[in-house]
Amino acid sequence: MPSAPKSRTGDYRPWPDDKPIVSLNDVHKSYGMVEVLKGISLDVKKGEVICIIGPSGSGKSTLIRCINGLTPIQKGSITVEGQEVNDPKLDKLSLRRKVGIVFQQFNLFPHKTALQNVMMAPVLILREPKAEVEQRARALISKVRLTGKEDVYPGHLSGGQQQRVAIARSLAMRPDVMLFDEVTAALDPETVKEVLLTIKELAADGMTCILVTHEMGFAREVADHIYFTDLGVIVEHGAPAQFFTNAKDPRTRQFLSQVL
């Protein structure tokens, strides 16, 4: 008798609440001769929302990409649920199932509808039953408030709508941590709100989120902790209330005075 296709979804053990779910320790990253990250350390606890802010080119995107294993690091360690990312024998599949990422440029697959975009990875990669995935995908699409747009192609969606599909697409893999890299930077001011609302709801549901953002008001509202990076190091970090009103480092103050 032919055996049913093997599902890769099994073996799910929740990560304990007290240990940091993502942990960076003295991370160094360079592109060729240029050192972009010069010793970054930070911990994120389960269910926590942290925001990374900082001037352009300070290495925020690079940091995010390293956590997902999209680029290797030269020195230091990154662990996600205890799994070392900076390990040549890293099982990228298991890492990326835990960590979802959403990009500034949405990067949807333009030849697939919204629904297909969301369903693709679970069906193709996790080999979950199609009917079940479709049900979940439809639920996710309605969760990001796009009911009715299931069969529309990305090219016919607005930027904000595309970005919300991209969020749903990542969520379909049931990640434990979500990374957002300036997800509203390419959007019109009106559509920014829709996307931020989606993220806010996600955070309220208890999703661990690491956000890079230029939306200071939003950061202040949702973040549990804020990190300010400049020139590849974390200059200052703290809870939002204290960070925004009472920054100590002159660089932070200068940055905040420019953006606030």
Binding site: N68, L70, K92, L93, R96, R97, G100, I101, F103, Q105, N107, L108, F109, P110, H111, M120, A121, L124, I125, L126, Y153, P154, G155, H156, L157, A166, R169, S170, M173
Partner: protein, 248 residues
């Protein structure tokens, strides 16, 4: 079919002197149909070979080995910058002279017929253009889209088959259409190595029957029809596969 049209064209000839002999003389009709068949086969196989060469070449051009890339590049330059007709003559006469023949019981026949040489020659010629087209299509798939696939746990192979190829093919299609249509027209050159395709057959018909203008008209119509049909089919495919929201 033949019985249906024959009386009309015979009548036309008797009344007006317009001699469309291929439509009322059974022998010439047979020749004509064979010409169409050979010509369509020639187009089909030449296009197919050029596509295969294009895909393989584009793939090689993106490979790590500089030697392979150089070879493909030299191939492209050599075949783009020399006359297709001389390429065909070179393949058929120069290389053909050195391929073995088989004994067909009484007479010998080269292993590679003129038809096959024509397919090889046109395939290689058209392939030189297809390589560039496919390579540009592959290059035009944004790195960031591939990264998105990677972050969704796609393996390299899965990314290639599910994202890169479908997108690259769609991106290449308009340029490909142009080139394939050009190549289809170029196949009429097979006349010079006596492949009995349309041009050659109608040539024989008009020398046998001294009805040049009529057969010429037919030849013209034939190619306009074939080219239009091919272009229409490819454009239809283009429309079906267009990336919604990224069209004209």
């Amino acid at each position: 079919m033949f019985e249906l049209i024959a009386p009309f064209f015979r009548h036309l000839y008797e009344r007006t002197g317009l001699n469309f002999i291929v439509f009322y003389d059974p022998h010439e009709f047979g020749r004509f149909v064979a010409g169409i068949s050979i010509s369509l086969q020639l187009i089909f196989w030449s296009l197919l070979l050029s596509l295969v060469i294009g895909v393989v070449g584009a793939w090689t051009q993106r490979s790590q080995s500089a030697i392979w890339r150089g070879c493909v590049h030299a191939y492209i330059q050599a075949f783009r910058n020399t006359p297709p007709m001389i390429q065909l003559l070179f393949f058929y006469f120069a290389l053909g002279a050195f391929t073995p023949s088989v004994d067909m019981g009484g007479y010998t026949q080269p292993i590679i017929s003129s038809f096959v040489w024509a397919v090889i020659s046109f395939g290689i010629f058209g392939g030189a253009f297809n390589v560039e087209i496919f390579r540009a299509g592959l290059d035009a798939v944004p790195e960031s889209t591939l990264e998105a696939a990677e972050s969704l746990c796609f393996s390299r192979w899965q990314t290639y088959t599910n994202v890169t190829l479908p997108l690259a093919f769609r991106i290449s299609l308009p340029a490909l259409t142009n080139n394939l249509v050009s190549l289809a027209k170029t196949t009429s050159l097979a006349y010079v190595i006596a492949v009995p395709e349309m041009t050659y057959v109608l040539n024989q018909v008009w020398s046998d029957n001294i009805n040049v203008p009529e057969m010429m008209l037919l030849l013209f119509l034939y190619y306009v029809l074939v080219v239009t049909l091919l272009a229409t089919a490819l454009h239809a495919l283009e429309r079906r596969l267009v990336l919604p929201g990224y069209g004209q």
